[in-house]
Point group: C2
Chain length 736, copies 2
């Protein structure tokens, strides 16, 4: 498969099917571009009606070509594609780039055409780029199937689901940087080749050292995560995911046909795979420019060097709010700075030279050296006027600025600490700023973007530092399944029940060491009284066991806080009455008697199936707050112990677990263990669509699951491939 | 006062005190700039050691000048300032611009020097700009006291607490727009002239039609709000507030000496005064450019016109997430678009012409016309490639693009609906984009900034539409005070108590119609039992009344849920014991017996004194959540009924009040009334520093305040002027 991708992206010969003599047609422009961009191999225009196109001999069909053809660019309409791919397949073409729209993005008939096309390709071992793409470019070989001329050459691979975003990025690279691209692929509908396959190719491509992705929706999120995880440690990956809003998805639907609908899940999952996710299209190119150029920031600590207060204040806010530390500089560092700066300067961090470089901008490079020699500092953001001292004061200062640029460039190499530069004067294209870029120091005219670049260097640095070799996004269904567990699920399936009975769900949990509240199954009032007596002052909870009643609380079939025999009896009868009122022919399989427990705090744990990523696990504070404030964390399965810990710590209300207002601290280790147990259970039984532990009571030692609900998938087997639309919401009733 | 400001900002004559012949000195540069910028009036260099400066005769002292002097630019060191201002005052100078740093921003000695300087000025009726400023500019008269040459001329007034931010904004205006400035003032430390005074001047300045503010901290927030409110309806005000983070404030402290510490209060208060607050320095100039150029968006509804999917998707996300509506277009509109666009185009909104303008960019202007004629649409954002069709396809398309620009420009005037443009090709400076700017259509190369411009037009539109003539930020202390209320507060003051006794606080509340839970003051166990009996099954609450115990819960002096006589007696004794344990010589003034009430939901209402804005009121959900998640809303006093309603609706957990999960809806009108009553009470008695109603129970009808705590200010009177550092946190113990 990788071999095929190499034959596509490094094609040695190209056929243009649908080549044309009309200059406004894609079939003409494609041939012209290949010729003008000096594609190294033979170009074969194919069109039965033409003799030549752009001076090249034109072939009647792909079969008429003598030599081998690696790649076919197909610019004919959607309806013709299956038969054309059939011909390409017979010819032994490795890949076809299908430009036409009118497939999966247009509805049922388009989807069926897409399936037909893929079917033909599979039969011949032919791979498809697109459809609904503007093509691909190998910048180094001149294999340019896109209108854009002379894209800047470099080491960034670009995967995009939007042609005009690709155009934007090419333009931005050309106008604002010295960086360029190794390859571009317009991924289109992903009918055949998926994001993760391109990623795998670029991981091994020696001409690519960083990967930039614009995605609106992807078809195989899990495989992508796995591949990204294996790539991002050596080659930074930057991704912008759009199509978050309803209107955004309307737009996506109308032009890529992708399954959109980003979830909170996606962002966390991408980050866990080492991907740098940006939320702002302005930051996309700056992010890859920075990450592909500079050493990372270690330990999250940076310094700020400014000339004037406003820039320093704004940038301090930005860096701090993003979580970076701006440590005060060591007193020796401060003393050294004092020596070369005027009294009005501030030397703590942010360092404000306060005009101290006006007469000699080399002072800035000296400050940079002093600051980066401080062991407390792992990166430097230079903001303000650098590059413009010659414009502001005297043209002769340009030489000093160039000197400073050389010094700073070398400083990055010596210290292996990054410098990022903001300059108000970038618009004037001073040579000193070009020099910084020559040394791979990016220069931005926006304080926000420059700060964000620093933040991303720190985040990527943190990722690399905490990189865990054992992370995996591959599921191992069945790995820890138990025979008895499979039996329970099979029985429910046989009975046509999607919901397990509470006793079944409890048994499954016990098999997997999930700590449940004790519950005695009783079948009479007297048995209930006897069971409740054991709990004494603590009180008891009584609830129905019935396959006919899913939401027990709503049906009036849960009674709390029962302390006396009378209360237990009354509750028993009341539940029976409620159950019959709920459904006259109800089958009552008994009642469960549990102690009435209290915890320091209540939490919930749940799992569901995400369209793009398969099974995910959720953690949140219990009670109404989880619904009102959505203060929850998510992870794609499987999870590591570290992920489980992070899930707990990243909810805003984690304070409630840490010993809040005189309460003892809750046992977070126990919660972590619970998350791992639930994740492993759901991974082991792919039949499970949804699991809901609510509430879970946390104690000083341990935790107790009070109620558990398990739903099976609608199909008859493995839902982990996704594609289920599961609209069930978690129900957060207590003791439900 | 306004007359004086006019004499400063429109000075007809300027003295430069500290003028110099040395070219690197400020005293030389200032004279040179005035001459080169063609200042209209006489320029008087003052320096006893020089005969001429930059060819002008130099004066020994300001007294040696014959004619009147409106303005003195003082560039001498801090220590010399008081005596120089003394001389200026005697000469009858209207204002002095004090450049020197070394005043309030440097600590105690600086603060005392600043006070001395202000004192001198006050005696002579002389006003001070600064100190710690880089000067001011009247762009139209050539009164340029700043190094920056030929700032772009226009109708924007700029107030900035940072010289390099001013430099950034001048540069940005010059490089990226056709806009310019009427005036610039470096506000500096605000030792004398405050932000609101400049604002008042610009409100009436015929050459100013929009105001741009960069502020790090301001000295009289309330007066600023009042003035902004009176200005913003006719002249848009855009403000960037920085110094939010700890490090940011460290930076502020070191260079402006301003009271920083932005609070959540500030942002809401600014918005209520009609100010457009931006949080991103990249958006600052684009915001004022847009608001000073275009009609606002009415009704929050806009359309998006793109050429290609990616830009459309990203922009849809941005607009939707900011709360704008992108309504589907009327079917007639869609039909008209269909007529001129290819089949692959999307005509719903976002409209994606999908290459339909490649051959003729005028199609975009036609689309714009069709879209803006739709009554559902009140503004248009054009994103993508406009301005670049000639570059991409054929130079001759430039004429069509210019035609389209003329049409769109006229369209804005005809429909009075705004168009904002994003273009990938702005870097190439195509004439078509310059034409758009000529028609006051701003062009941005960032999707984020273009979208944000549209959002701000909608927000300002909404503000203007909902503008309320009765809004005021002026306090009326005493206006609704009652004699009995004053007596209560005076007694506490006489007794040296900062906290009112609960019975006093309750009486004050009752005077102002704040609905309290009933509470009977008892002095014996038997009285307590009798009082509790009245509450029957509901149960009672018993708490101590003692001037010695502020935090009653923490002292074990509150007992809840007492249902039987035995429980009441036991509670009574237990409280007595706890009180004595807490403080052996405790004075117990009795106990309060209240019914144990339940509400649909508990909320809290509080007031405190903000450093910059004086008294503010706070609303939030009760319980631990308010502390954990800080889900609260704030308003500066006084508040209107509308503000009170918004305070309730803007907390995230407002859902809990709206009939959540089968609960009845809570009486929000009653909460609104309560907020108004509390605000009016606190406004009326400026002695009150802090008031805390916690919890307040909400019912289906009405609400009940269960506990109230009132603290007096530390001084002996009116704290509403701010300047108190009040570090008391709200204490959210229930029944405390």
């Amino acid at each position: 498969m990788k071999m095929t991708l190499a034959r596509i992206l490094n094609a040695q010969s190209v056929a243009v099917i649908g080549a044309s003599r009309q200059e406004t047609k894609r079939g003409y422009q494609a041939v012209r571009t290949l010729v003008e961009e000096k594609f190294e191999g033979p170009i074969y225009p194919v069109n039965p009606k033409e003799k030549t196109v752009f001076g090249l001999p034109c072939y009647e069909s792909i079969h008429a070509i003598d030599g081998p053809v690696d790649l076919a660019l197909v610019v004919t309409p959607a309806a013709t594609i299956p038969s054309i791919l059939e011909q390409c397949g017979r010819k032994g073409v490795a890949g076809a780039v299908v430009i036409a729209a009118g497939f999966g993005e247009t509805g049922d008939s388009g989807r069926s055409l897409e399936a037909q096309m893929v079917d033909v390709a599979r039969r011949h071992g032919l791979r498809i780029v697109g459809p609904n793409t503007n093509g691909l470019i190998n910048v180094h070989s001149g294999l340019n199937l896109v209108g854009f001329r002379q894209p800047p050459k470099g080491n960034i691979a670009l995967l995009s689901q939007s042609g005009n975003m690709a155009l934007s990025l090419f333009t931005e690279a050309q106008v604002k940087s010295r960086k360029g691209f190794s390859c571009y692929v317009g991924v289109g509908n992903e009918a055949d080749i998926r994001f993760h396959e391109y990623l795998e190719y670029f991981r091994d491509d020696p001409r690519t050292s960083a990967i930039l992705i614009y995605v609106e929706g992807m078809r195989d999120g899990r495989a992508f995560l796995q591949q990204a995880y294996q790539t991002s440690r050596t080659k930074p990956i930057v991704l912008l995911k759009s199509g978050r809003s309803v209107t955004g998805r309307r737009s996506v639907g109308s032009h890529t046909g992708a399954l959109a609908g980003i979830s909170e899940v996606a962002i966390t999952a991408f980050r866990r795979a080492g991907i740098t996710v940006v939320e702002n299209s302005d930051e996309l190119f700056p992010a890859i420019e920075t990450l592909s150029s500079l050493p990372v920031v270690r330990n999250n600590r940076v310094a700020l060097l400014a000339d004037g207060g406003g820039h320093a204040t704004i940038t301090s806010d930005l860096l701090s709010e993003a979580g970076l530390q701006l440590p005060e500089l060591h007193e020796k560092t401060q003393a050294k700075l004092r020596e070369i700066l005027p009294d009005t300067a501030s030397v703590r961090n942010p360092v404000d030279v306060a005009g101290g470089a006006d007469a000699n901008p080399v002072v800035l490079a000296e400050c940079a050296r002093i600051i980066l020699q401080d062991h407390q500092v792992d990166g430097l953001l230079l903001v303000g006027l650098f590059g413009g001292y010659s414009l502001r004061f005297s043209p002769s200062l340009a030489f000093a600025e160039e000197d400073a640029a050389h010094r700073m460039g070398k400083l990055v190499r010596e210290t292996n600490k990054p410098i990022v530069c903001h300059s108000l004067y970038d618009y004037a294209r001073p040579h000193a700023l070009d020099l910084l870029r020559y040394y791979d120091i990016p220069v931005f005219d926006s304080l926000e973007i420059a700060s964000q670049a620093m933040v991303l260097l720190a985040e990527y640095g943190e990722y690399l530092q905490s990189y865990q070799a054992q992370t995996s996004f591959e599921l191992q269904p069945g790995s820890k399944a138990k025979k008895r567990g499979e039996e329970i699920l099979a029985r429910a399936r046989r009975d046509g029940r999607r919901a397990l009975l509470e006793v079944e769900a409890r048994e499954l949990c016990e098999l997997h060491k999930i700590p449940l509240v004790t519950a005695e199954l009783v079948h009479s009032e007297d048995e209930a009284v006897a069971a409740a007596a054991a709990h004494g002052e603590q009180g008891s909870v009584l609830k129905v066991v019935s396959r006919d009643i899913l939401h027990k609380s709503d049906a009036g079939c849960v009674k709390l806080n029962l302390k006396t025999e009378d209360e237990v009896r009354a509750a028993y009868r009341s539940i029976q009455d409620s159950a019959r009122a709920y459904r006259p022919d109800v089958t009552i399989d008994g009642m469960l008697v549990s102690p009435m427990l209290k915890g320091i705090v209540e939490v919930i744990v749940g799992t569901k199936i995400d369209d793009q990523f398969g099974p995910v696990i959720m953690f949140g504070i219990g009670g109404v707050m989880v619904e009102v404030l959505r203060d929850v964390s998510y992870r794609v399965l499987p999870i590591s112990a570290r992920s489980a810990k992070q899930m707990i710590d990243e909810i805003r209300s984690v304070k409630l677990l840490n010993g809040f207002r005189g309460e003892p601290a809750a046992d977070k280790k126990a919660v972590q263990k619970l998350l791992l147990a639930v994740a492993s259970l759901v991974e082991s039984y792919p039949q499970i669509a949804e699991m809901d532990l609510n509430p879970v009571l946390l104690h000083e030692e341990g935790c107790t699951v009070v109620d558990v609900r398990i739903l099976l998938g609608e199909g008859n087997g493995n839902h982990h491939n996704g594609n289920h639309h599961n609209d069930n919401h978690h129900n957060h009733n207590h003791h439900d």
